[in-house]
């Protein structure tokens, strides 16, 4: 259970971009957060993923309040999240080969021994060939790089996935393929998902419940 309670967050002291926003993502639930450009939904996604400290409000993970953010957050809390951002070019270290990019969270948490198995397993799950794994980001397309970023988000087997406009840069087929990968992961692990986006059709198709930003009223949809 991921609970955001009365979150106010922003980048300037007196001009928060998110005001008093509450949202609950139940265990195994898929929640879509739908809003127009620049409304603050990405900021909220960053708060939910422990990547941005809110000005006020509480974030509860399974009832446990979060006290620290970013690198100061407890490792058990940090690694419970997998995040996929909109722009793979900005989210990938240009110096790392894709295999290393996917394995980076394992190196960072001292689980080096799992690297070969997990990378092979995830590369085939997201559809990356062994040849692509040896390349650096500038040598692959946006779609291929986003596949690697999704594999990186899944490598620590997170309990919560946050997908911030994951498919906005991608063509229809690659987008559908990545959504299928996320759903396959969720069906085996029971992870919950917060999908942030502006594509109503996509979120209604993908998510059990879609929250509209403008009114914050919840619109139930069949998944």
């Amino acid at each position: 259970m991921l609970e955001l309670r009365a979150i106010t967050a922003g980048y300037e002291r007196h001009a928060p971009v998110v005001r008093d926003f509450s949202l609950t993502v139940g265990p195994g639930e898929v929640v879509g957060l739908l809003g127009p450009s620049g409304c603050g939904k990405s900021t909220l996604a960053r708060v939910a993923a422990l990547l941005h400290r809110p000005d006020s409000g509480t974030l509860l993970l399974d009832g446990e309040p979060v006290r620290h953010w970013r690198h100061r957050a407890a490792r058990a809390q940090r690694t419970a999240f997998g995040v996929v951002f909109q722009q793979p070019r900005l989210a990938a270290d240009p110096r790392l080969r894709l295999a290393h990019l996917i394995a980076e969270p394992l190196y960072a948490t001292g689980r080096r021994s799992e690297v070969p198995d997990r990378v092979t397993e995830l590369a085939s799950a997201v559809g990356l060939t062994p040849d692509l794994l040896t390349r650096r980001p500038h040598e692959v397309s946006d779609g291929q790089l986003q596949r690697a970023c999704l594999a990186r988000a899944l490598v620590l087997r997170p309990r919560w996935l946050i997908c911030d406009e994951m498919t906005a840069m991608l063509d229809a087929s690659t987008g559908a393929a990545l959504v299928a990968v996320v759903e396959a992961y969720r069906s085996t692990t029971g992870a919950a998902l917060l999908a942030v986006g502006h594509d109503r059709t996509l979120l209604n198709r993908w998510c059990g419940r879609t929250v509209h930003w403008e009114t914050s009223c919840e619109v139930p949809e069949a998944s």
């Binding site: 620049g38 946006d142 087929s173």
Partner: protein, 317 residues
């Protein structure tokens, strides 16, 4: 009246070690005044290279073949001086792919608009420039109270509108929009493409939209060209493509099936590397209709390049 006529355009990149990357191969299409042609395809299929080729913005290791005529000028043969002084901004307006990278980061949107107005039109004088820039901003629905901001202070949607405003300043007869709607929300996408459509309808411009957003293409386009692995594999009317009888190339059908309001299933596999294309049909490895004939390259017929395209009779199956 044809504004842009592309005949047999090919672009090759020479890579270190003698490798050649076939980014665009033998593209043929026209764009007429008052018409919008949408070029669709997945990322890395050569769409943006085609735009760069038309504007003479390819890197030094690129080789081009064929011709692209804009009126009586062959864009591929024109020298840099001609392109810089008479073509870019004046005869071709470019709406770029990533406005955040296209705008100058250290100057406000107002100052960039005023500079563009001064460079491309006859407007002179501080007050006149100021009001012309504000008018240009209004044409692209860029809010006036954001004019004094720098690009990093804008959301993706507003940055896109700023770039669109810059592209419209020169009143060019041909607009090239390279992924104009990436990162915008649905309402803004609709607004942006409607705005582009308006410039096509009222001013008689030709518009070439490069996009992977099929919903935006459906909304704006008169004709659709589908690109796969550097080749145009289908070129047809938008109504027939998105409605009945639907596209004829198996790849085009797969793209439409991947939409969330249709089957939402991906085409299996990934596109081939442009540096290592098969001899035959580049889509054969992912195609459920592939047969032995697909080992040879299918020629482009009237609308489609495929050995066994869907024919109107079986398209409702």
């Amino acid at each position: 009246m044809t504004v842009l006529s592309v005949r047999g355009l090919s672009v090759r990149f020479l890579m270190p070690g003698g490798r050649r990357v076939a980014a665009v191969t033998d593209a043929h299409f026209d764009a007429a005044a008052g018409e919008c042609l949408a070029l669709i395809g997945e990322s890395g299929c050569g769409k943006s290279v085609l735009v760069s080729a038309l504007l003479g913005l390819l890197p030094a290791n690129a080789q081009t073949a064929g011709e692209a005529r804009l009126g009586d000028l062959d864009l591929l043969a024109a020298d840099e001086r001609t392109l810089a002084r008479t073509v870019r901004g004046r005869r071709i307006g470019l709406i770029p792919q990533s406005p955040a990278a296209h705008l100058t980061p250290v100057r406000t949107i107002r100052s960039q608009l005023e500079e563009t107005v001064a460079a491309l039109t006859g407007v002179r004088g501080r007050a006149a420039l100021r009001s012309a820039a504000e008018q240009a901003a209004r044409r692209a629905a860029f809010p006036e109270d954001h004019l004094d901001r720098h690009p990093h202070e804008l959301s993706g949607g507003l940055a896109q509108r700023a770039a669109t405003a810059l592209a419209l300043v020169g009143d060019a007869p041909l607009l090239l929009a390279d992924e104009p709607t990436t990162g915008l929300d649905r309402d803004l996408v609709d607004h942006t493409v409607d705005e582009l459509r308006r410039h096509v309808d009222t001013a008689g411009r030709a518009l070439l939209v490069i996009t992977h957003d099929l919903a935006a293409a459906e909304r704006v386009a008169d004709r659709v060209a589908v690109m796969y692995a550097g080749r145009v594999v289908e070129l047809t009317d938008a109504d027939a493509f998105f409605g009945a009888p639907g596209p004829r190339h198996p790849y085009s059908r797969g793209l439409l099936r991947a939409l969330p309001d249709r089957a939402f299933t991906a085409i299996p596999g990934m596109p081939p590397e442009l540096g290592n294309l098969p001899d035959g049909c580049a889509f054969a490895a992912r195609c459920d209709r592939a047969a032995a004939t697909c080992a040879t390259r299918p020629p482009m017929t009237a609308t489609v390049a495929c050995h066994h395209p869907y024919v109107p009779e079986d398209s409702h199956a």
